[in-house]
């Protein structure tokens, strides 16, 4: 068993990054995730593993520092919160286009605009449907506990390198600010230059040896037919992710007449609602997508003919619900419930929404 600690989600993700053997963190402070860079600066990982931590002059610079280091085959992590992630989008699009691995954490706060510093899940579209320009996808993990904040760092890098694709860990102010018990993984060594050369010599830009052609990291191809071909390649990669990398959790779903679909902190809140409902004799289960992209389409579709209705719960005006509806292909009635703008719904509010759904309101 690894070391047990009581940590905030933001601290756990930072510590997990050090332990995963990450080479560099570049970031810019923004509430409610500043603890990530604060923790790293206090921890001085350069003395523990040689990991670089740098506070950039802006989110624009931070994401492009990520782009640079990732281009060299280095493991790079960054974090921000919604308005900052909006500024990241140009860089993320480049990173996706140039097929660079990296892990980006978004500790979501309420918007639009400067919004609020309180928790929200209103960046679902931004994470799963593009965010920046062009046809690209991020692999999006939605932790619902501090433990998952820590665990998804290593998982994120595994996926990022397997597919050479940026990975987004989308949590929110609640998961970021709360403390829970977390079991920390043992320290992994950082890759040596030699290891990086062995693994990534075919694409990474760390200096051209005589044995190979130069490596070019770019998302540009002025020849549209080549750019289309590149896009086909990207799409094929995303189909592979959809086929092989879907993660989800089912709680009390075996005998369920109704489903709540919720992710991240909304899933935690809804777990309580399921308990409250079951105590009242309502047979309801919780279906929790862990990957928001690729979304567990088939797995949710399997409930067609089994459940009478679905309540899609999220801290937004209704973004997740679009994927829920796509998954069940109009074969199950789906309703949305959620507070937003920084408000967190209570387990009782979710229960009331469920009861209204059952009553047909």
């Amino acid at each position: 068993m690894g070391e047990l600690k009581l940590m905030k989600g933001n601290e756990a993700i930072a510590e997990a990054a050090i332990r995963a053997g990450v080479d560099a963190y570049f970031g810019y402070p923004i509430t409610p995730q500043s603890e990530v860079i604060e923790y790293l600066m206090a921890e001085q990982p350069e003395n523990r593993t040689g990991m670089v931590v740098l506070q950039a002059e802006s989110e624009l610079a931070a994401i492009n520092m990520v782009y640079g280091a990732a281009a060299a085959g280095k493991k790079v992590f960054t974090s921000s919160s919604s308005p900052g992630i909006s500024l990241y989008q140009e860089g993320i699009s480049y990173i996706a286009g140039a097929e660079l691995p990296c892990v980006i954490a978004n500790v979501v706060r309420g918007g639009p605009g400067l919004g609020t510093i309180q928790p929200s899940q209103a960046d679902y579209f931004q994470s799963t449907k593009g965010g920046g320009h062009g046809d690209y996808r991020l692999y999006v993990l939605a932790p619902s506990s501090v433990q998952e904040m820590a665990d998804f760092i290593q998982l994120g890098f595994d996926i990022a390198y397997k597919y050479r694709n940026p990975v987004m860990i989308q949590s929110d102010g609640m998961i970021g600010q709360m403390m829970e018990k977390v079991e920390l993984a043992d320290q992994r060594p950082r890759w040596t230059d030699e290891e990086i050369k062995q693994m990534h010599d075919s694409w990474a830009a760390f200096g051209k040896g005589d044995h190979r052609e130069r490596n070019i990291i770019t998302s540009l191809d002025l020849d549209s037919s080549k750019q289309e071909k590149h896009n086909h390649h990207l799409q094929a990669k995303y189909r592979k992710m959809e086929e092989n990398e879907v993660l989800f959790e089912e709680i009390n779903c075996e005998d369920a007449d109704y489903l709540i679909v919720a992710y991240g902190s909304s899933a935690r809140i809804s777990m309580k609602s399921v308990d409250l409902a079951r105590a009242k004799g309502i047979k309801v289960g919780l279906f929790r997508p862990i990957t928001l992209y690729p979304f567990p389409m088939k797995q949710l579709n399997a409930y067609v003919g089994k459940v009478k209705a679905i309540l899609s719960v999220e801290m937004s005006a209704g973004q997740l619900i679009e994927d829920v509806k796509l998954a069940v292909e109009c074969n199950i009635p789906v309703k949305h419930f959620g507070r937003y703008g920084g408000m967190i719904h209570s387990p009782e509010e979710v229960l009331t929404a469920l009861e209204n759904l059952i009553k047909g309101e």
């Binding site: 570049f26 670089v52 740098l54 624009l60 281009a71 830009a205 200096g207 990291i217």
Partner: protein, 266 residues
């Protein structure tokens, strides 16, 4: 004498730069970019740094610099080359990292990155090609466009009241403690090319010593954007660009050169 005698080895005075690829340059005839590329690649070759060097290409005419420079390269978003270079250098402190940027990239959209990379004193080399115009997008006004200069977005000439002043970004960054060697050169004559090559050598030497930013501005022409034939464009550059962007070292060994101190104060 037949041609075979002429091309004999002992008669060779110049050959294609080793580290330039065989791709046909995409630059307009007479443009300074090709010469600037060649000089940089020659120096990297002469220093034996090909396997140690990673270059960062900008957005602008030189967006395809990686097609011509036979080293590992990264194409950066518009203005972000200094941030990309920071990511590279921080994770590979012993590699040779340079950016190659135009005036729009370095002095307009990327001003924050330029200022901060210089202020942090990252151990990288920056090449700044200043032709006072946006070449790739078809000749619009740049931050460095001179007063009265006609461009696609200042068709009646740059009006300082309406459009602001041409920005001497090089003098500006020379003020920052993180810059160690700052110079302004040109590539329009063989003599200028030789001087520039010396400056490029020095810039990479400074990087090797990890003393902070080495920054080489190359004032260049844009015949297409300026709508002048190459020779006239160079003449115009000498007559108009050089008085405002004077040639020579601005900061050497971490110290501002005297003439520049006066220049900045005025």
């Amino acid at each position: 004498m037949d041609i075979k005698d002429i091309v004999k080895e002992e008669n060779l005075v110049y050959s294609k730069t080793n580290l330039m690829t065989n791709n046909v340059l995409s630059y307009c005839p007479g443009c300074g970019h090709g010469t600037a590329h060649r000089i940089i690649m020659e120096v990297i070759d002469e220093l034996g740094l090909q396997s140690q060097t990673i270059g960062v290409a900008p957005v602008g005419c030189s967006v395809l610099a990686y097609d011509f420079m036979n080293i590992d390269m990264i194409q950066a978003a518009h203005g972000r080359a200094p941030a990309v270079a920071t990511g590279l250098k921080r994770t590979m402190p012993d590699k040779c990292i340079f950016t190659y940027q135009g005036d729009g990239d370095l002095a307009a959209i990327g001003t924050a990155e330029t200022i901060h990379v210089c202020n942090r004193g990252e151990d990288i080399t920056m090449f700044f090609i200043n032709n006072g115009i946006y070449g790739m997008t078809g000749g619009q006004m740049a931050p460095t466009t001179l007063e009265g200069m006609k461009t696609a977005t200042s068709p009646y000439g740059r009006d300082l009241k309406k459009m602001g002043n041409p920005l001497k970004i090089t003098e500006l960054i020379a003020q920052l403690p993180g810059t160690y060697y700052v110079t302004r050169q040109a590539v329009h004559t063989p003599a200028a090319v030789r001087k520039t090559k010396k400056a490029v050598f020095k810039a990479f030497e400074v990087q090797k010593e990890k003393k902070g930013i080495s920054f080489v501005e190359i004032v260049s022409n844009c015949n297409s954007g300026w709508k002048l034939p190459p020779v006239k464009a160079n003449q115009w550059m000498v007559e108009h660009m050089f008085p405002f962007y004077p040639m020579g070292d601005i900061k050497v060994d971490g110290h501002l050169v005297n003439s520049n101190k006066a220049e900045v104060k005025s």
